[in-house]
């Protein structure tokens, strides 16, 4: 049955472009410009979904984005707004949450039990027996609303951009367009955002005069330079300092784009939302709003029914009645609320409206009821700007009370009036918005506002027309369509003690669905006011929150920007198949296949490891020793040129924060290293000390982490290898002993420095090379050391090597409470220094006992590697320590550990009990040193 009308002057469909799509398994025709629902309605379809709780059939209500009954599944996309989304050729559209089918839905049996499913019924039942609750729960979950998401990763492309409009106008109706034009004429850059596909607002479905006004306004917008128009885009939120989120949906190359605008002034011109009326049967298919009727007829040329009753309290209802009559719908009766008319209930069933019962007792057969009972101001955006809307009884809707300077309103949200009055007011608003924006622009650029600024414009207020206050009729009906909440539910909840609007919202879930109160809120407030005997003003509203309308996660995420860091040697690691390790922002080689043999190669020959991520700071100036003394717990003012020293840093609370070596390369030139993960934190910490506490110190700190590629050359043959490549440095043990630093040329590269240290326990040199030559030096080392058996080693081998040597790792062998005294570094703390971070805490720490101590541990069964975090226990389940590091030592051929134990267990040789994750308990002994291998350190000093 075709409901399509002949050509309408304002229609948006393209009758030249005809195609088909699939709905509910069948093919349907459509025109370009049709929405999914308008195309279906044109074919006489009336039911598009089932309600969430009672599974009642639902049809059209608002014929707009908000339409609660028109949520459909499109391909793999759930909850598509069928009354907004344009239909496309071949689209596969299906109803949501119906089983087994839209026409016959077994769950609609719920409807019959509706009286038992009052709001909050689930709080009162399924309580006992407790073991059955999970079963009930699974059953309840079947009744959840919404479409289906699929587990296959989506390939959609979303992105974001920033914008800096002087004036951002939310809403492209007559008011928004006029404001935008006025602002642009006053010199502002304007962003005009309209939720629907075209500008025009309500003018689009208006009469000829209105269509003429629409054409004129569109022409003005198009010819005003400085206006960027974003159709099919929504202003989703206004955040602090006019940070405005806009969702742009009209793009060809992306699904959706989030525009983040720092609007200097925001003009809110969203018009008004038509409010449904609450009465028995108000959710029956065929009960629609006047704006829905007008949209269907005038935009899509669809006849909404055959025989109609119109319940009208305003011009919109009257205009709808005229539209209906003009499009061949029989208007059986216009019930005029302004003359005391009212409707009591709608009778109907699965197929829709059958008859309307009026308050005068008349029962009128019809298939369509159009209601026009009033408007809801979409105060959402101004609420987000901190405004508390106030209710105006005369106009029977809410208005803003106090807006910040950078937010203005115009159009329906600001008042009533003739089209001319509204446009004039909007123009004044637009001009004022531009003026305020110019002022803000100067502030943002650091300028001082000019004395001779134009005075604020006088914007005369819009008139307010009297409107009957119509919310609920004489019967109870649906208040929240998507949540299936009735007015009876609200009354019941109030009586049960949920007697404020916030509690009743949470108890009944009214306004918690997809429309977030834009359709439901005022009715809910009015019904609460009615039952409590309070006024609407006293009852207040719930809080509006972003987003204005639901936003895809994809658009919010946009392109995912997560900076990644690579060393200059990364291409080599990749070619050699290194297993990548994600270490914060860095990607590092974990190993090149076999970490154990990498370890042995370091012990026997020579290995090279890429340690570029080590934090590095270049420190210059006469006061560097002061700084070092301040940051580290040990002493630094006596470090000679050419030497390096190990240091530990604690925070003010005495907890170990970072460690590393620092070397003195010149009289006033030092290089500090930190852990890779600690680098950023240490850098900021230094800046903080220097900038806030010691601004007088003459020091320059420059982060140089990646100015140098860092390569540790370790193993008994490391000297031999370096001898082949190094110029300008005497590598002999006497000239370049342990813990010294030298500068020179390596593999032909100037400006390198290297220091000797013993993290791996072997003779080793940490070579720091100007980064652009890192790969060159690395490749040269590999080439020239081939006969020495040089091989790369990764982070895992390094962990094993250091564990063999008993070096702790900050963050692994320490935690958020560990102090230096707990890890055997008490001797390093120089309490006689004048000041250093954490000094008071460390002084007190030095005197207390009873804290866990870090010790070396070896399981008695050397083939057993207790997993890290295995607990050390006494008795039944008392925890007296834990394993913090644990590996099989390729060098020793046995398992080795570091761990914390209670103070009474620290004596070397003490047997402790380790509980493995499986529950098994195994013995281990405390070793004399943290180091399991070469505790005297003869190898590294060689």
């Amino acid at each position: 049955m075709s409901m399509r009308l002949d050509h309408r002057p304002g229609e948006v469909i393209d009758r030249q472009r005809e195609f088909t799509f699939t709905w509910n398994g069948e093919e349907y025709p459509a025109y370009g410009g049709d929405t999914i629902i308008s195309a279906l309605a044109a074919c006489g379809e009336r039911i598009f979904s089932r309600s969430f709780k009672y599974h009642r059939p639902r049809g059209l209500l608002t014929a707009s984005f908000l339409d609660p009954g028109c949520m459909v599944q499109v391909d793999d996309e759930p909850n598509v707004r069928g009354a907004h989304r344009r239909v496309e050729p071949g689209m596969v559209v299906s109803p949501q949450g119906v089983w087994p089918s839209l026409e016959y839905d077994v769950k609609s049996a719920n409807g019959a039990f509706g009286r038992f499913l009052s709001a909050g019924f689930y709080y009162k039942t399924f309580i006992k027996p407790r073991r059955l609750w999970p079963v009930y729960r699974r059953m309840l979950r079947r009744f959840s609303a919404g479409g289906t998401v699929s587990a296959s990763p989506a390939q959609d492309y979303f992105d974001k951009r920033y914008a800096h409009p002087d004036v951002l106008v939310a809403g492209g109706g007559p008011a928004g367009m006029a404001a935008a034009v006025a602002a642009a004429r006053a010199g502002a850059q304007v962003l005009l955002v309209e939720e629907e596909y075209e500008l025009g607002g309500y003018l689009r479905w208006g009469d000829e005069a209105e269509l003429a006004a629409l054409r004129a306004l569109r022409e003005e917008v198009a010819s005003s330079p400085g206006i960027e128009v974003m159709p099919n885009s929504v202003v989703e939120g206004r955040y602090d300092d006019n940070w405005v989120a806009v969702m742009q949906r009209d793009l060809s190359h992306v699904e959706e784009r989030l525009v983040k605008a720092r609007a200097k002034t925001l003009v809110v011109a969203p018009g008004l939302i038509e409010r449904p009326y609450v009465f028995e049967g108000n959710d029956t298919p065929g009960v629609i709003l006047s704006t829905a009727a007008r949209r269907l007829i005038n935009l899509y040329a669809v006849k909404p029914g055959e025989r109609a009753v119109v319940f009208s309290a305003n011009e919109s209802g009257d205009a709808a009645a005229e539209d209906l009559a003009r499009s061949g719908v029989e208007v059986a009766r216009v019930v005029d609320a302004r003359r005391g008319g009212d409707i009591v209930r709608v009778k109907g069933g699965g197929k829709g409206v059958r008859a309307v019962e009026c308050s005068d007792g008349a029962e009128i057969e019809c298939d369509l009821l159009v209601t026009a009972v009033g408007w809801t101001a979409p105060t959402s955006l101004i609420n987000m700007a901190g405004d508390r809307p106030v209710y105006n009884e005369r106009a029977a809707r809410f208005f803003s009370s106090h807006l910040p300077d950078d937010v203005l309103t115009c159009g329906g949200i600001a008042g009533d009036g003739t089209l001319e009055e509204l446009i004039e007011h909007a123009r004044a608003t637009g001009g004022e918005a531009a003026r305020r924006a110019a002022k803000t622009a100067r502030r943002l650029r650091g300028g001082i506002p000019l004395e001779s600024e134009a005075p604020p414009a006088e914007i005369s207020e819009l008139p307010l027309y009297e409107h009957p206050a119509l919310f609920r009729g004489k019967t109870h009906g649906i208040v929240d369509y998507s949540e299936d909440v009735t007015s009876k539910d609200l009354v019941t909840a109030e009586k049960e003690g949920y007697d404020s609007i916030e509690l009743v919202k949470r108890y009944t879930t009214v306004t918690m669905g997809p429309a977030q109160g834009k359709l439901e809120s005022v009715n809910a407030v009015a019904i609460m006011a009615e039952t409590t005997g309070r006024t609407i003003e006293e009852t207040g509203t719930t809080v509006w929150r972003p987003p204005y309308s639901p936003v895809t996660l994809g658009a919010l995420a946009g392109r995912i920007f997560e900076p990644v860091r690579y060393s200059p040697m990364q291409p080599w690691h990749e070619i050699r198949g290194a297993k990548p390790l994600v270490a914060g922002a860095w990607i590092r080689p974990d190993h090149y296949g076999d970490p154990a043999s990498e370890v042995l190669n370091v012990r026997e020959n020579v290995g090279i490891i890429d340690v570029t991520p080590l934090g590095k700071f270049d420190l210059r100036g006469p006061d560097v020793p002061k700084l070092l003394n301040h940051l580290y717990v040990n002493r630094w003012d006596n470090l000679e040129e050419g030497r390096v020293r190990y240091g530990v840093m604690c925070l003010e609370d005495g907890v170990v924060f970072d460690d590393g070596v620092t070397g003195r390369l010149g009289p006033e030139w030092y290089v500090m290293t930190t852990t890779s993960s600690g680098a950023a934190g240490v850098g900021e910490w230094i800046d903080n000390w220097l900038q806030t506490a010691h601004p007088g110190w003459r020091i320059h700190v420059t982060p140089v982490t990646t100015a140098y590629a860092s390569i540790n050359v370790a193993g008994p043959k490391s000297r031999e290898l370096l001898l082949r490549l190094t110029e300008g440095v005497d590598l002999s043990p006497d000239a370049f002993p342990y813990m010294r630093v030298r500068e020179g040329r390596v593999a032909g590269v100037e400006g390198c420095f290297m220091w000797r240290l013993g993290f791996t326990g072997e003779l080793s040199y940490e070579v720091h090379v100007p980064a652009a030559y890192g790969l060159h030096v690395w490749e040269t080392l590999m080439q020239r050391g081939a006969d020495l058996g040089v091989g790369p080693f990764g982070v895992e081998a390094q962990r094993i090597l250091r564990l063999e040597k008993g070096h702790f790792i900050v963050g692994q062998d320490t935690d958020g409470l560990t102090g230096p005294y707990d890890v055997g570094l008490g001797r390093m703390v120089k309490l006689d220094k004048d000041d250093f971070t954490g000094k008071p805490e460390l002084a007190w720490q030095s005197e207390i006992n009873g804290r866990l101590q870090l010790v070396g541990l070896q399981p008695h069964d050397g083939s057993l590697v207790p997993p890290e975090a295995s607990q050390i226990v006494e008795g039944e389940s008392e925890i007296v320590g834990r394993i913090t590091s644990s590996r099989m030592s390729p060098t020793l051929g046995r398992s080795i550990c570091l761990g914390f134990v209670a103070e009474h267990l620290t004596t070397p040789g003490t047997k402790v009990v380790v509980q493995l994750p499986g529950g098994e308990r195994v013995p281990a002994s405390v070793t004399p040193h943290h180091a399991h291998y070469d505790p005297e350190g003869t190898r590294q000093r060689g």
Partner: protein, 211 residues
């Protein structure tokens, strides 16, 4: 004793075909797209730290927030409070540094060769502001960031120095970041520029024009 001359490499993998020039491995590609991106890492980058209002500051002639060319064609960027970044032709690091060091300043002065520690990227074309608007929250309008504006901000979540340096009448920006994230930034810019048809253009020594 060293057989191979050292080759310097940018953190950004050069788009093939590649060649070695100025001691650097670079892309020899050439593009005439409207929107181009070039890895300029081989340029000499010298970092100067000195008092904000001292002799040296006066000699450099550029305050924080601005960039300008000196008589040698070196682009002097006021990159931070008491911090300048000098960009010059490849291989001129030492010479540029020396020119600075001779200035007498009462305060502490440090001069670093930052060539290795940083990556430098140039994007050129009329739609560069649109590209940047996708990755950086700063306003790229002429009134706010005219030619010669310099600032540090977050670009694709990375701390980056941005210098508006129009070349030959075309909108152009230099982006300067910490070396290890150079490839990341380059990729992010290409991703953002995709919709405007961005293409990689090889590096060419700007020669007499300086940078």
């Amino acid at each position: 004793m060293v057989e191979r001359a050292p080759v310097a490499r940018s953190p950004i993998a050069p788009a093939p075909p590649t060649t070695i020039e100025y001691g650097w491995e670079i892309s020899a590609r050439s593009s005439d797209a409207e929107l181009k991106i070039t890895d300029c890492t081989p340029l000499a980058k010298v970092l100067v730290l000195a008092p904000m209002y001292g002799e040296l500051a006066r000699a450099l002639g550029v305050p924080f927030g601005r960039a300008a060319r000196d008589t040698h064609g070196t682009l002097v960027v006021g990159s931070g409070p008491g911090e300048w970044l000098l960009l010059a032709a490849p291989g001129t690091n030492q010479a540029v540094g020396k020119r600075v060091e001779v200035v007498q300043d009462e305060g502490l002065v440090s001069v670093f060769d930052a060539t290795h520690g940083r990556a430098l990227i140039r994007i050129t074309g009329p739609r560069t502001p649109d590209l940047l608007a996708k990755v950086c929250a700063i306003d790229f309008a002429d009134e706010v960031t005219p030619d010669g504006a310099a600032f540090r901000s977050s670009v694709a979540k990375l701390v980056t120095d941005v210098v508006r340096d129009d070349s030959g009448g075309a909108r152009s920006y230099l982006l300067h970041c910490e070396r290890s994230s150079g490839q990341y930034l380059f990729d992010a810019l290409i991703d953002a520029g995709d919709e405007f048809g961005i293409e990689v253009d090889g590096f060419v020594d700007p020669g007499d024009r300086g940078v």
